[in-house]
């Protein structure tokens, strides 16, 4: 079965091709084959496949990739809206933009 694709034109992924030196780490860590290699640097080939996990930006040694990395989980968003911690899926939304009490006690 082919890869499933979620909503189009929503992801926050950005690649600064000027900062990229073509090491290829992002191709390695991306679980959805969002990137491909050009002659000298990486390019985004399938942006709608991105799930904003943040593996690429965290592992880019040159800071060429930015993405609002987070877990795409509706239950976590609802828990965050309700100011509850954790959730049925045991995930929790990171402080992020609405950094209220919604974030789970991940380490404390």
């Amino acid at each position: 079965m082919g890869n499933l694709i979620y909503l189009k034109n929503v992801v926050t992924l950005q690649l600064d091709e000027n900062k990229c030196n073509g090491c290829g780490t992002c191709l390695e860590v991306c679980p959805h084959a969002v990137f491909k290699m050009n002659s000298s640097h990486a390019v985004i080939q399938n942006r709608d496949a991105c799930m904003e996990c943040g593996a690429c930006s965290r592992n880019c040694p040159f800071g060429a990739i930015s993405v609002e990395a987070n877990v795409g989980c509706a239950a976590a968003v609802i828990n965050s809206l309700l100011g509850r911690e954790g959730g049925a899926c045991s995930c929790s939304i990171e402080p992020g933009n609405n950094g209220n009490a919604g974030k789970g006690g991940c380490c404390c």
Partner: protein, 386 residues
């Protein structure tokens, strides 16, 4: 030992791998000798002596106890406390040249890893992810740069292996910055395949991945194993809602209380049950084949079809208004519940982004609340005019 960061918690973001003193309140365990995992865990088969002390040994052969634990966790029993003591373990008889594989301390992650490594010798470095699997923990940052660096130090790994390489599951990458780990610890991170079952091929090929090993899929089997935990999560709201519907159905209506509950209440409970089964069993199974990209769209459409089938089987009298109104109410309530449950499945799926989920929720959540509440009001009205 695991609580040493209890006062320096800054959420899950790792700013920099600062492993020096954390000052003030935290009793720093840095000075302590190597932290060896507990030997009294049931899956430990012995120990192996190393320059860093006696390291617990585990087997690639899972016992019935391990398999039973997996089944229990899939059904949510003891799932939040299904942990392996963090630290270094020996699989088989590793030496100073053996590879080091890193995983989370969710017992199922640990078991799935060692299961694939039969007749091999390796070190397994278990990070403290509070019993959460690799991918979720990486998303939260507990399977992260800081924890990895700390665990390398605490385990005495540098005195045990002569090389300076680690194999991490690729899905740990959202939490770990390989270049920072290298800088801080000297260990070079290699991201192995997404799935543990590809590890033998990866190791045998000299740590080379194929493109397929790097891609996360969401196969029928992957979706099916999630059904039990989704069912368990839906049981509680069902047990609350079912009696309410049952009692409401007795009030109003043409006959006495108990006759009404039999005529309408049982069906209401059945309808609720149908909605839940459609939402947490059918939707995950049929996910790729249901229309729409948004999970709620898939839920609304499948819920509508299921509601039609249910009403057909009920054989409601559509000649009279009470019957028509009751039918309408279920055509609203069931899809609303299914859509909501389907939407919640985004968190379990392997391909939804938070930006997408938020966009979906902006229309879907109000739509689900409106149709659900509207349907419920219409249903109550149908009871009163009947």
């Amino acid at each position: 030992m695991n609580k040493k960061e209890s006062c320096s918690c800054t959420g899950s973001q790792i700013i920099l791998p600062v492993i020096q003193e954390k000052s003030n309140c935290c009793p720093e365990a840095k000075e302590a000798p190597n932290i060896i995992p507990r030997m009294d865990q049931p899956f430990i088969t012995g120990s192996i002596t190393t320059p860093a002390g006696r390291i617990p040994k585990v087997s690639a052969q899972l016992q019935s106890r391990d398999n039973w634990g997996t089944i229990r966790a899939r059904w949510g029993v003891g799932r939040m406390d299904y942990m392996v003591d963090p630290g270094l373990y020996a699989l088989g008889n590793p030496d100073d040249n053996s590879p080091v594989l890193v995983t989370a301390n969710y017992k199922m992650s640990f078991d799935y890893l060692r299961r694939e490594l039969s007749s091999r010798n390796a070190w397994i470095l278990v990070l403290d992810t509070k019993g959460i699997n690799v991918w979720c923990a990486a998303g939260k940052g507990t399977f992260g740069t800081e924890e990895l660096i700390k665990r390398i130090e605490a385990s005495g790994l540098k005195n045990i292996v002569s090389h300076r390489t680690l194999i991490l599951p690729q899905l740990g990458a959202p939490g770990v910055a390989a270049h920072q780990v290298k800088r801080a610890s000297g260990f070079k991170v290699y991201y192995g395949p997404v799935r543990a079952k590809d590890l033998p091929a990866y190791l045998d090929s000299g740590w080379k991945t194929t493109p397929a090993m790097r891609i996360i899929t969401f196969s029928l089997k992957d979706r099916a194993v999630l059904i039990p935990i989704e069912l368990v999560a839906a049981v509680k709201p069902f047990l609350i809602l079912a009696p309410i519907l049952f009692i409401l159905s007795g009030i109003g209506g043409p006959a006495g209380f108990w006759t009404n509950t039999v005529n309408y209440g049982l069906f209401a409970v059945l309808a609720l049950l149908t909605a839940i089964v459609c939402g947490v069993v059918l939707n995950p199974l049929l996910l790729p084949f249901l229309p729409g990209r948004a999970f709620s769209t898939k839920g609304f459409s499948s819920g509508f079809v299921v509601a039609l089938i249910l009403l057909y089987l009920r054989d409601i009298n559509l000649q009279a208004w009470p019957g028509r109104i009751e039918a309408l109410s279920w055509l609203l309530i069931i899809p609303a519940i299914v859509a909501y449950l389907a939407m919640n499945f985004t968190g379990a799926s392997t391909y939804t982004s938070l930006s997408g989920v938020k966009k979906e929720m902006r229309w879907a959540l109000p739509a689900e609340i409106a149709t659900g509440a509207g349907g419920l009001i219409i249903w109550i009205a149908s009871r009163l005019i009947a």
